[in-house]
């Protein structure tokens, strides 16, 4: 398949992930949707790497994975700390900073 198809798929997955972030209330599910968006970006990178014929895209995708892993670790640790304090994992419950 041409890279265009892969990029198109990546776009669709990215948008779906975005919708998930906006719609879901469970913090962990929101996190997972963000992971989906990152994965979609990885797919695009790899597609572009195959388009250009060099491996730079793949290397960048690799780094994205590493950073995503680190981010997940810290994010989930924060979520656990919030859960312990407030007994709730819903993103809507953290709404004190408002008018």
């Amino acid at each position: 398949m041409t890279p265009v198809h892969y990029v198109a798929l990546s776009v669709i997955l990215f948008v779906i992930g975005g919708v998930g972030v906006l719609v879901r209330r469970n913090a962990i599910v929101v996190f997972m949707c963000i992971e989906l968006m990152l994965n979609a970006c990885n797919l695009a990178f790899v597609a572009f790497a195959s388009m250009h014929g060099n491996l730079d895209g793949q290397v960048i995708a690799f780094f994205v994975m590493v950073v995503a892993a680190a981010e997940v670790v810290v994010g989930l640790a924060i979520l656990m700390a919030i859960y312990r304090a407030r007994r709730s994992a819903s993103v809507d419950d953290a709404n004190l900073l408002k008018w």
Partner: protein
Amino acid sequence: MTHVLAAGTNTDSIAVESVFWILAVLSVLAALAMILVPRAVHCALMLAVVMLCLATMYAMQGAPFLAFVQIIVYTGAVLMLFLFVLMLIGISSSDSIVETIKGQRLAAGLVSIGLLILLILGIGHAAIGPDTLSKTAAGTDNLSGIATLIFTTYVFPFEVTGALLITAAVGAMVLAHRERATPRPTQRELAARRVASGHLAPDPPPGVYALHDSADRPALLPDGTTSELSVSSALSPRDPAGEPRFVPADETLEITAESGEWEPAPSGRADS
């Protein structure tokens, strides 16, 4: 956007195409399912499906190293980390379908459709050329190529990412650490608490005195009622009322020769 077959790509294009389409549809459906199902564990499983599909696609595009890293690290480690945390805090919570913020769903839908259209337009007009995997240097495989790039061109980001990982690990440790407000209770104190609570014996394990020993079967108390304490709160107890049970002889039913219906047996013994 012409389809040009170049050397080095998979020559069996029909197979590749069909695999791509299957995987593409599968991943999109899984992604949609991920954002739509209410229970968090199902979401995680759907994400795993998407990741595996993507790994395959990486492989199809001549990035085997990345494919394996995706499976091992991303799906195997990161997603499992998600599941661990879910077990810790989110397993029993399921989102209600009702949306609390007015117009959020509508706005999200509109904006996402808009973004989708824009991006499709963008890539439609982009000059995305065909596969040119043949341009990789002869004699090197994917892994060596990536290694070379990481340790030469991208060595600085590599080092920085290393530092990032260390920071993330330390940060996670700090955040997950629970400072004890009170000293750790000794065995003696735990025992004393137990006695004071009045609940001395451990909870009954599921399925005691029951015909079946599945984890969701509640235990029967001496007076015949079910014990709620015997089933983990993550599971819903199965109602034993509709299940076949031990029947005394005088209550068994057998098919008589005359009517062909089940009728109380003339004799007491049940058939095995």
